[in-house]
């Protein structure tokens, strides 16, 4: 009648890290990309609401 699409996760990306909502993160993502040099977080001139948000203008 229902099926869970994800299994419960086991590890933290950064063990013990608190998410912004103060929940303990239990995500299993591998942090392989952390070893790469990542571009700096960006500021933005044009958008207030990020993402695909056409209703704002429609």
């Amino acid at each position: 009648m229902y099926t869970k699409l994800e299994t419960k996760t086991k590890d933290c990306p950064v063990p013990g890290e608190k998410t912004p909502s103060q929940e303990t993160c239990v995500c299993t993502c591998k942090r392989s990309a952390d070893k790469e040099e990542k571009p700096a977080p960006a500021a933005d001139y044009t958008m207030v609401n990020m993402g695909i948000d056409l209703e704002v203008n429609g």
Binding site: M1, Y2, T3, K4, L5, E6, K8, T9, P13, T19, P20, S21, Q22, E23, T24, C25, V26, C27, T28, C29, K30, R31, S32, A33, D34, E37, P39, A40, P41, A42, A43, D44, Y45, T46, M47, V48, N49, M50, G51, I52, D53, L54, E55, V56, N57, G58
Partner: protein, 490 residues
């Protein structure tokens, strides 16, 4: 229909969001943060829907499954969480900062028609003539580095206006960074329109390993329609020439380049996609990777946009087609083949949801997206005032270089935000996923009492689309979805 699925009115409704996507039913269970597939009869039961052609036996079976889910899996339970304001700013207020954004000038040499600094909108900083002094920039840098998160590389971003109009600020910050113990770890990033890169600036960019985020909307016929200079003259050719000169000196700089692409009603998504898939400056200099992109849709509130509703509906149609093409490519294990624009459009939302917290909701929760004013990110205006981020217009001053953080102002900002949104959050399934933040609140048009509701509606709509995308990918074979686990949370 022998049995209308409707569960008993004396039970509290399950705290779930049920939605249909391409003929399948899904649920997001808020208490557990689980995504589920549902049989149609259970979906109808959870939605308290009328209609549907289900037998009494099917409805009974669905009710049993619901009870089993509650008892054995902790699913479908009612909402019990209490919403509370974001906790008062504690001792961590001025520790653990990760990014400093310096608005180094209010001036800009361009007049992009969708830029909200040009639009004269209430609450947004207009273009002005003020520059940050080199002393303010250096002091801000030291203030930030003294309080930067010891476990993260500190990031200093240059914002404006157009930051390359004041190259001396970059020099001032570089000097302050080099004199600080955290200096070797610092990443410098410039948000630029890409039109002002002279030889000296390129020397700095290469010498200091500066990251550049360049606003570039695509081929000239698309870019120049919106991004002209003060006289309305085109700018795309200048940017491409500058990128060509920069890459000719060191093709390796491509790894530190990213681009902000802004879609507008008249955008031709295929043309933009083709342009970045075979990005001319990268191709010319043998760079094999495709450029890193961030794709936005312009917020034209208050602008003098010539676009009518037809333009938006055409862009919506293009985005629907792009989404279908992207998901089909993922299914075929060919997501890299769809090009960077389609990936930048859809993957950030999917990846964020995949890496969402999946711990139980708990008894209390503070809505408000990811932002915690006074923590992580610090925006310093040209005059040295502190704000939570660069999108806060002229409001929400939470300190100054002279006085440091104003603890009371931070607490007051958090309380105001909570008071504004808490009623809407009380009944909302999206509280754990919501990205509406202090800047969203600040940007709500004055005089429209429904503006907040519209912002919430848009957020829920977008989240449902992303949840649907994620659910569809999770239903794909292992080899089509393994990449999700390799991604990281920004």
């Amino acid at each position: 229909m022998n049995g209308t699925p409707k569960h008993s009115e004396d039970t509290q409704d399950p705290f779930v969001h049920v939605f249909e996507r391409d003929g399948r039913w899904f649920a997001y269970d808020v208490n557990t943060s689980m995504i589920l597939t549902l049989e149609p009869v259970l979906a109808h039961l959870l939605r308290n829907s009328r209609g549907g052609d289900f037998s009494a036996a099917e409805v009974l079976e669905a009710k049993e499954a619901l009870k089993t889910g509650q008892k054995e899996d902790g699913l479908f339970l009612p909402r019990t969480v209490q919403l509370i304001p974001c906790p008062p700013a504690g001792p961590g207020l001025d520790q653990g900062l990760r990014q400093l954004i310096l608005s180094v000038t209010e001036r800009c040499n361009l007049r992009c028609r969708y830029c909200f600094h040009s639009a004269g909108r209430e609450g947004f900083r207009p273009h002005g003539d003020r520059d940050m002094t080199p002393e303010t920039a250096a002091e801000s840098t030291r203030f930030f580095l003294d309080r930067a998160d010891p476990d993260q590389a500190p990031v200093i971003s240059f914002y404006g206006g157009e930051p390359l109009l004041v190259p001396e600020i970059l020099e001032s910050v570089i000097a302050a960074v080099s004199g600080h113990p955290r200096g070797p770890e610092v990443m410098l990033a410039v948000d630029t329109n890409g039109t002002l890169m002279d030889q000296q600036m390129m020397d700095r960019i290469l010498r200091e390993n500066v990251f550049l985020q360049v606003s570039l909307d695509g081929p000239p016929e698309i870019h120049d329609r919106w991004r002209g200079d003060r006289m309305g003259r085109p700018t795309q050719a200048t940017i491409m020439e500058n990128l060509d000169r920069l890459l000719s000196r060191d093709p390796g700089v491509a790894a530190r380049l990213s681009f902000v692409v802004t879609l507008t009603p008249e955008s031709d998504l295929d043309a933009i996609s083709s342009f970045f898939a075979a990005f001319p400056p990268f191709v010319a200099h043998g760079v094999k990777e495709t450029p890193r992109l961030r794709v936005n849709v312009a917020d034209l509130e208050g602008s003098t946009s010539p676009a009518g509703k037809d333009g938006w509906s055409d862009l919506r149609r293009q985005l629907r087609q792009a989404r279908a093409a992207y998901l089909e490519a993922v299914r075929a294990g060919e997501r890299h083949q769809v090009g960077p624009v389609f990936r930048a459009l859809f993957e950030p939302g999917i990846i964020k949801l995949h890496h969402r917290s999946r711990s139980p909701l708990g008894k209390v929760f503070s809505p408000g997206g990811n932002c915690r004013p006074g923590q992580r990110k610090l925006h310093v205006t040209a005059s040295g005032q502190f704000q939570p981020c660069e999108k806060m217009g002229t409001a929400a001053v939470i300190g100054s270089l002279a006085m440091g953080f104003h603890r009371h102002a931070v607490t007051e900002l958090r309380r105001t935000f909570h008071d504004s949104f808490v009623d809407a959050c009380q009944s909302c399934w999206a509280i754990r996923l919501c990205g509406n933040c202090f800047a969203t609140h600040q940007a709500l048009p004055a005089g429209d009492p429904q503006a907040g509701n519209k912002a919430c509606f848009r957020m829920r709509k977008r989240l449902e689309e992303d949840l649907g995308d994620l659910a569809k990918i999770l239903l794909m074979p292992d080899n089509a979805r393994a990449w999700l686990d390799e991604t990281v949370v920004d």
